[in-house]
Amino acid sequence: MARITAGVTTSHIPAVGAAIDMHRTSEDYWKAMFAGYEFSKKWIADEKPDVVIIIYNDHASYFGMDIMPTFAIGIADSFNICDEGYGPRPVPVVEGHSGLATHLAASLITDDFDMTVLNLLEVDHGLTVPLSLMFGEPDKWPVKVIPIPVNVVMYPQPSGERCLSIGKAIRKAVQDYDEDLSVQVWGTGGMSHQIQGARAGLINAPWDSKFMDDLINEPETLQFKPHLEYMVEAGSEGVELIMWLIMRGALGPEVETVHRFYHVPASNTAVGHLILKPKE
């Protein structure tokens, strides 16, 4: 049987991808941030998950405004890398796991989550930067990936309650899959940042820290935090953090913290990173 073995959260800042691609990670500006992922790279090399379900948002890279799905799932065998205006990142093509992905899509729809099913999808920095942070620069990604893009760009975004509950449904669906697979769920984006308007550059470290605490210990309370609070306290783009709730829902009621890291700044953003394991 497939099982969810761990959850990871991480920011997915495009400049972090650029720093990796241009081999600038040891520069003074970047080295403290990348140091926070050294543990994670060693940890995941030992864990060797078979599949990673990555909760992320597309940044006007594949989806325009012609189609804007609230929750979508990529069920293809492979996903090419988007050109976001700078040319595609020089990273390997992302391989899917269409067996688990089709099962997951069908389970979620049966559970009343109206997923948009993607047989074609190109992935952007929201998905590839977390892969680079966790796996470095391999010739081929060492895991299969199931992309779950979530609309966090256009209001109304899905509610926190909806995000936590789809996470719980993902957990159940994975456990119902017959193949013996170690599956991780990653929630990406955040932490506090605002990249538009006169208030751009906003960082709220105390709020971010409390969010991490609550995500670990109080997800049932945290799910009711309104979008307005994310936008006021963590910046207009800080609302991406609702995607971390999906990861948390997939881990079950209690978790153990394996790794916790926070750093300001990377580009315009506060970097937050957690590795959590479900308590059986």
Binding site: A15, H59, A60, M65, G85, V153, Q196, A198, I203
Partner: protein, 132 residues
């Protein structure tokens, strides 16, 4: 449930990209999406006015793009992830483009970020700031 678009109006220096704004900015944002291909970026840089005339932008949106006035583009329904295709094509980073919407120049903005970012105190509410 009735959507509440007004709830964001009191956040200072912030334009929330609501479904209403998305409707207003549809053509502008689709124009931005076209710059995901190298071929279109090349055509755009060769003759901006000719390229942009092929889209149904309002005169205000068109001028804001040609002026690289990102705040104005937000006001006209643009969203920063779409607008990033314009500044990426110009060879600018997010930090470089985003700083133009603030009271700081690029170096001052970078210094603020290195010092821990913009402090939220005083930036929660227009009312508290005496703004409309």
């Amino acid at each position: 449930m009735k959507p509440n678009f007004k709830q964001f109006d009191d956040i200072p220096g912030t334009t929330i990209f609501t479904i209403e704004k998305a409707r207003q900015g549809f053509e502008l944002n689709q124009f931005c999406m076209s710059l995901r291909s190298l071929e279109n970026r090349t055509r755009w840089l060769a003759d901006e006015k000719k390229y942009i005339s092929e889209w149904n932008l309002t005169p205000e949106q068109e001028q804001a793009v040609l002026d690289r006035d990102f705040q104005k583009m937000l006001d006209c329904g643009g969203n920063v992830y779409f607008l990033s295709k314009i500044f990426a094509t110009d060879g600018l980073s997010y930090v470089q483009a985003v700083s133009t919407m603030t009271e700081f120049n690029e170096e001052e903005y970078k210094a603020m970020m290195l010092a821990g970012g913009r402090n939220i105190e005083g930036w929660r509410s227009k009312k508290e700031r005496g703004e409309k």
